[in-house]
């Protein structure tokens, strides 16, 4: 018996394995939608508790993942209402980002991804961070595979252009400064 089928029957260990398998992806999706880490944590907890409670009503265990993401989507909406949405970064100050001080390109990338529309942000993070295929993302977001591919490609192009514009600007400033020094 696979884990969703076992969890439907009340196997808590199977449910724990499902959590370990999908919690990160759900969390990434929630964070992308909500824009705030603590909100994503609350919604993640609510999602898995609701999933456990309602699993007996899931008739098709093979549809567990899209079902889980639909619960997550509803919990994200509930959470967004409880706390007003704001434009904030996905990584809080108390979680050290990996060497961003030495990697301005990473810091710039985070700012650019934060600037994406929530749904696009979710697609980008599930694909680039979680390594999900376009088919898997399409299934949980109820989009066509072509739409996911198109949005992802467009978003990557936007990120690339944004990144290069940012560093071109900085290079340009540096060049001008050095010119002045030379002068």
């Amino acid at each position: 018996m696979d884990d969703p089928a076992a969890a439907i029957k009340g196997d808590r260990e199977a449910f724990a394995r499902l959590y370990r398998q999908y919690a990160r992806a759900v969390f990434v999706d929630l964070a992308a939608r909500l824009g705030r880490r603590e909100d994503a944590e609350d919604a993640l907890q609510a999602t898995f508790l609701a999933a456990w409670t309602n699993l007996p009503r899931l008739r098709r265990p093979d549809r567990f993942v899209p079902w889980l993401f639909r619960i997550a989507r509803n919990k994200a909406k509930d959470q967004a209402r409880r706390r007003r949405l704001g434009l904030v970064t996905l990584l809080p100050a108390d979680v050290p980002a990996p060497a961003t001080a030495e990697r301005p390109d990473l810091e710039a990338m985070r700012a650019l991804v934060d600037g994406l529309q929530p749904k696009t942000r979710a697609i980008v993070l599930l694909r680039a961070l979680e390594g999900w295929s376009a088919e898997d993302v399409a299934a949980v977001h109820r989009l066509s595979v072509a739409t996911v591919r198109r949005r992802y490609a467009k978003a990557l192009e936007h990120l690339r252009a944004g990144l290069e514009r940012r560093f071109l600007d900085e290079d340009d400033i540096r060049h001008r400064a050095s010119d002045r020094v030379r002068l």
Binding site: T53, L90, P98
Partner: protein
């Protein structure tokens, strides 16, 4: 120039710290409740014996009966009709006599305010086609202004719509829940079910003022009334039901053999399919209510009008079918063999199979009469068509009962002379524009590759 892989790598590195904390896993593990949702009951819908038990046991068991209807493959979670937090709330709507204002509400986030007057309407495509696995439409609403607003919610499929009317009083945020079981057909001749909904709309009927909405969604459940729901509305003092494959027969007449009635209805349906080519799946079982007398039936029709917030004229005939529900009353001499039972049940079947309302139009009356006379040749009582001119036959929206045999004759002619093209005929009638009494003949002729005058001449020459 960075490659796509470079960008993906940068994203992965930038967000590598995005992990759910261990504390969440611990909180979930420790907080899993022992109480869980009840699994759906599999198998066929509630049977008659169970229904009697349900009714006897009262409301709690009726609620269980409803639960058995939640048999959809859809997971039992709500689905957004418009995701206000993920999109611009005002995008994608078409409007008549209404203005949309997007806004932010301190309590609810992104919301949409609609300023409209009587007959104003906003309409939007539905993200979900099959509403069958859902039990209700839910919308959070806030009403500014000084007067109550009478409105309706519509769900569209092709040229048909299902509708529910409601009144909103001025006031702050509240959840408006409209059970799909309480929706009815719109007043047009074309009707639909909940299995292929293309769009939905909010319409202002009376009153004006700004209404702010949020989070329109479908709640899990079932759009189809159960036999218990139907019995409760028709026979509040107690009734029996018998379900066959396509019909549910209900009555409070002890002497009536419900199984025998149902068997005759199934026989009629077979004729409708085999001879006239009207076949397919029902979204729900077609109900036939048999009351003890005319008054009890007429009282029920009045209650239907109140329940569905629609004005229904007093029935004039022994049989009466409205909103896909067939009604008649008992006659001790004829018992289960009463021909009107088959006639009315065929109206309910044609409603479901052809998407044509039973409002006395010639297609409904002609087909139902044709089937009735096949099942009960004696009910013809010697009546033969004199083949009146179609111009006279189709002079009004409602076919007079004296002309049923004429309209039935047209369908017998089609069955015997154009059987191969009957599916095209039914599709033309289902999807065609215009009223059936003015356009029906032309639609049929078009499907047969001819014109109405030629078809009428062919009918006259037949037999």
């Amino acid at each position: 120039m960075r490659t796509t892989s470079d960008i993906e790598l940068l994203i992965a590195s930038a967000f590598s710290g995005l992990e759910p904390p261990v504390a969440v896993e611990e909180a979930i593990r420790d907080g899993l409740p022992a109480e869980r949702a009840r699994p759906p009951v599999r198998g066929r819908p509630v049977r008659a014996v169970a229904l009697v038990a349900l009714l006897a046991a009262g409301a709690v068991l009726v609620a269980r009966g409803r639960r058995t209807e939640e048999l959809a493959d859809e997971p039992g979670v709500p689905v957004a009709l418009v995701d206000f937090q993920g999109t611009e709330p005002g995008d994608g709507w078409s409007m008549n006599n209404a203005h949309l204002i997007e806004g932010e509400d301190p309590a609810r986030g992104r919301v949409l305010t609609i300023d409209a007057k009587g007959k104003g309407r906003i309409r939007r495509g539905s993200p979900v086609a099959d509403w069958g696995p859902y039990g209700a439409v839910s919308i959070f609403v806030k009403v500014e202004g000084n007067e109550a607003v009478e409105m309706r919610f519509l769900a569209f499929s092709g040229r048909a719509a299902l509708v529910r009317r409601f009144t909103l009083k001025p006031g702050g945020w509240r959840e408006l829940v409209l059970p799909l079981k309480d929706f009815r057909d719109d007043t047009g001749e074309r009707v639909c079910g909940f299995s292929r909904i293309e769009a939905f709309a909010l319409q202002w009927d009376k009153g004006e003022g700004a209404i702010t909405i949020d989070d329109p969604r479908l709640l899990p459940g079932s759009a189809r009334p159960t036999a218990a729901d139907r019995l409760a509305l028709a026979f509040p003092k107690g009734g029996r039901s018998h379900e066959s494959e396509h019909f549910v027969v209900m009555s409070d007449v002890k002497a009536l053999d419900l199984a025998k009635v149902a068997a005759r209805l199934e026989a009629g349906l077979k004729v409708l399919g085999d001879r006239y080519g009207v076949a397919g799946n029902f979204e729900d079982k077609a109900p036939l209510y048999v009351f003890r007398d005319r008054k009890a039936r007429d009282d029920f029709v009045e209650r239907i009008g109140e329940h569905f917030a629609v004005s229904i004229g007093q029935p004039k005939a022994d049989g009466f079918t409205v909103l896909g529900m067939a009604t008649a009353f008992y006659d001790a001499k004829q018992g289960a063999n009463r021909p009107v039972f088959v006639h009315e049940a065929m109206h309910a079947a044609i409603h479901r199979l052809l998407g044509i309302a039973s409002n006395g139009n010639w297609v409904q009356e002609g087909l139902a009469s044709a089937v009735q006379m096949q099942v009960d040749p004696k009910s013809r009582a010697g009546a033969e068509t004199k083949k009146p001119p179609w111009e006279k036959l189709f002079a009004s929206e409602t076919l007079p009962s004296s002309a049923y045999v004429d309209a039935a004759s047209i369908f017998d002619f089609l069955a015997e002379q154009h059987a191969a093209k009957l599916p095209a005929v039914w599709e033309a009638l289902r999807g065609g524009k215009g009223a059936l009494h003015t356009e029906g003949a032309a639609l049929i002729a078009g499907a047969l590759g001819t014109d109405a005058a030629s078809l009428e001449a062919e009918w006259r020459a037949w037999k």
